[in-house]
């Protein structure tokens, strides 16, 4: 039984069918004029051998102009699976995504350098020293592998989290470019039984992490049936360029048939037009180019339509994920993916705010609600992320879980049918006939059935705002609750076969 996710019966869409069709046509035109620039030789050869026109461009870095004809794209859209399964260590945590079914799975992400600790020092009122309050103080520091383990652990217990993307960049002294991948995969998989998605630091480590996943899943075939890991690569650099190294990684992952996200992240205003029609035509062309390449490498390889559009902020030209347009672009991308019936990877909840608080709540809740309502299958909803994805705060992730519970409840389908209405008519007549005219008695049968939403779990008492402290308590509770680690025997085999994993991660040996 896979996870349920949030099924959005009537997804919110911004574009009419005709507008989606127009964007598709514009993207097809873009792919032949101006086409793409590829800095990766192999991609050029693959596309060329299937009929794309290719022209070499002079310059410091060798590159090629590639014009991808429409029928190549259409064929790829045909072979790309319309249903993608992302497996999990615990098979009950598998995610099954149908391109035409708006069932939303919520996933963490992305990789931040900074980990935000929270502390609650006591402050005394200057005017009245008998008055004391505890104020949350946030302290940024460099993320470590222990943090990654902790966040995987807490996310295992957060109900609304359906899958895990590593949240923090591990910057321990004993982590190098060579051993980073195996360590981040092991730390995440060992502390979390949900699906694990990641990018790769070094392509050389691809075989090692795939082998690790095979050992955990129970062999090569078992991993094929239950792909407990998947990958994400930003092979496209906007506007319209295939990057050399990420494209190489992308091709290699496709060859192995593991699920992969084709992601493009244009910034409206700098690397894409700021107008909705323009950025949509471009990002759609970019993602389709990636999907086409993937399907040519291995027809039928599972891909997700990955869209991470963002608008530039006008005061710094940095990303403004909190902007309203960013949500609009995302929703349009969800619709385009559904237009092609390819499962979508979308983004919400990324905020501009640097610390948890009112701004972060408003920004994330807004985009979380509207983007969820649009029905992406795989929603990277930035659990715990702050400052445009550059800071991770576990406390924020606990808060996010709570508001996603509200969104899930909100998106439940209304029950309005004949038997229900008949029962209601009887209820109305019964109550109106009483002297007190109160329906309170009829609350009781539904009170414990889960049909009534709960109060905000971190509600303070009286005038005190205790949200952070209560959420922090919850976080500590979740950390204290055990997780199911990889078993002793498999752990031993992983440490035996795969070089570079830090010995202190072996819970059976280090005694921790």
């Amino acid at each position: 039984m896979p996870r349920k996710g949030i099924l959005v019966d009537r997804p919110f869409e911004r574009l009419t069918r005709e507008q989606a069709e127009l964007i598709h046509q514009a993207s097809m035109q873009i792919l032949t004029d101006p086409g793409l620039i590829s800095f990766n030789r192999e991609a050029v050869d693959i596309l060329h051998s299937h009929g794309a026109a290719v022209e070499s461009i002079a310059g410091d870095h060798q590159s090629w102009q590639v014009k991808i004809p429409e029928q190549l794209v259409l064929k790829a859209l045909d072979t790309a699976p319309k249903t993608v399964k992302l497996g999990a260590r615990n098979p009950d945590n598998a995610l099954i995504m149908h391109g035409d079914e708006p069932r939303v799975y919520l996933i963490t992400g992305s990789e931040t350098n900074i980990w935000l600790d929270v502390d609650f020092p006591t402050y005394v009122n200057k005017a009245d020293p008998t008055k004391e309050i505890r104020v949350p103080e946030f302290k940024p520091r460099r993320g470590t592998i222990d943090d990654l383990c902790q966040s995987a652990h807490v996310c295992e217990h957060l109900e609304m989290v359906d899958g895990y993307i590593r949240t923090v960049n591990i910057q321990d002294r004993d982590i190098t470019e060579e051993n980073k991948d195996v360590n981040k995969f092991f730390a995440s998989l060992n502390n979390n039984t949900k699906h694990f998605m990641s990018g790769l630091t070094s392509l050389k480590q691809l075989d090692n992490v795939v082998r690790m996943a095979e050992l955990i899943a129970g062999g090569k075939k078992a991993l094929e049936d239950n792909p407990i890991i998947s990958f994400i690569t930003c092979l496209v650099k906007s506007p319209l360029q295939f990057v050399d190294d990420t494209t190489e990684t992308f091709i290699e992952v496709c060859r192995r048939g593991l699920p992969i996200v084709v992601s493009s992240s244009p910034q409206a205003g700098t690397t894409a037009p700021i107008k909705e029609a323009g950025i949509m035509a471009q990002i759609n062309a970019e993602v389709l180019a990636g999907i086409t390449l993937g399907q040519l490498v291995k027809p039928g390889t599972p891909v997700l339509y990955g869209s991470v559009p963002v608008r530039a902020r006008m005061d710094t030209l940095g990303d403004s994920y909190g902007s309203v347009e960013t949500s609009q672009y995302n929703i349009d991308c969800v619709q385009m993916a559904r237009f092609y019936r390819i499962p979508n990877y979308s983004t919400s909840g990324v905020c501009d705010s640097k610390i948890p608080g009112q701004q972060s709540s408003i920004e994330r809740l807004f985009s979380d609600m509207v983007v969820t309502m649009s029905g992406p299958q795989y929603l990277h909803c930035a659990f715990g992320l702050l400052d445009c994805n550059s800071v991770f705060c576990l406390l924020q992730a606990v808060l996010d879980d709570t508001h996603f519970k509200m969104i899930e409840f909100f998106l439940r389908q209304p029950r309005v049918d004949q038997p229900e209405l008949e029962a209601m008519l009887k209820q109305i007549r019964d109550v109106v006939a009483t002297s007190q005219k109160l329906y309170i008695g009829h609350i009781r049968p539904v009170l414990r059935s889960g049909e009534i939403s709960g109060v905000y779990p971190f509600e303070g008492s009286g005038e005190a705002d205790d949200v952070f402290e209560l959420a922090h308590e919850r976080m500590k509770e979740l950390l204290a609750r055990p997780v199911e680690h990889i078993d002793r025997e498999t752990t031993a085999r992983i440490f035996e076969e795969i070089p570079g994993i830090l010995p202190r991660l072996n819970i059976y040996e280090s005694g921790s």
Partner: protein, 224 residues
């Protein structure tokens, strides 16, 4: 007449109109000459380059800076103005050289090896050029040896390094080490920037400064 041209150059810098075809903020200027055309006229009428720079270009940029700080202007406005000034400086480069006028300094800029992100780097380049620096953009994914070679040959006063990825930021440290090994480190101030980078990281790898954004980079340079 020369006063008029200088004032018009200044106005077009403020409007961010590089050439005749550009749209400014004020619609009524559409079709009139931009900074480049005006500059050519001014040079033809023998207006002194120093006056063009100080009373036209720099004075215009100053107004733009003020408008930006009062939030009347946004970055795209500022960049348009800086681009106009940059284009003007390109035209005047030979004139200034022959007149022995010193530029503000030579600035080399590169996105490090393995990293292909260049929005930030390009913005810094535009702004510095607009501020009157002689900017040499080495591009993206630039190998360390190439950076070192450029510093050795061209002797820039400043070197700006950019990286967006957590995986490539360490290359900045590699460049600084290579400069040290080639005894070039003291000849050049190294400024770093990019999403993944921090003040702390700059200190750790021995850079001279960390710039949060492009304006910060200009500010840091003005401080030297």
């Amino acid at each position: 007449m020369s006063k008029d041209i200088i004032a018009t150059i200044k106005e077009n810098v403020i409007q961010g109109r590089k050439t005749q075809g550009d749209v400014g903020i004020d619609d009524s200027l559409a079709g009139t000459p931009g900074v480049v055309e005006l500059l050519q006229q001014a040079l033809k009428s023998n207006v002194s380059p120093q006056v063009i720079i100080s009373e036209g270009l720099t004075a215009g940029m100053q107004v733009v800076g003020e408008k930006f700080s009062t939030k009347e202007y946004f970055i795209p406005d500022m960049l348009a103005s800086a681009e106009a000034v940059g284009a003007a400086m390109d035209i005047m480069k030979p004139v200034l050289e022959s007149a022995n006028v010193e530029t503000k300094g030579k600035f080399a800029i590169a996105t490090v090896k393995g990293d292909i992100h260049d929005i930030g780097k390009n913005i810094v380049a535009i702004l510095l050029k607009g501020a009157g620096y002689e900017v040499h953009d080495l591009g993206i994914d630039v190998p360390t040896e190439k950076v070192v070679e450029f510093v050795k040959e061209e002797k820039p006063g400043y070197l700006g390094l950019s990286a967006l990825l957590t995986t490539t930021m360490t290359e900045m440290g590699v460049v600084i080490k290579a400069l040290e090994e080639n005894k070039l480190r003291s000849s050049v101030k190294v400024l770093i920037g990019g999403a993944a980078v921090s003040e702390e990281f700059a200190q750790e790898i021995g850079a001279d400064a960390y710039c949060v954004n492009a304006f910060d980079a200009v500010k840091v340079l003005e401080g030297y």
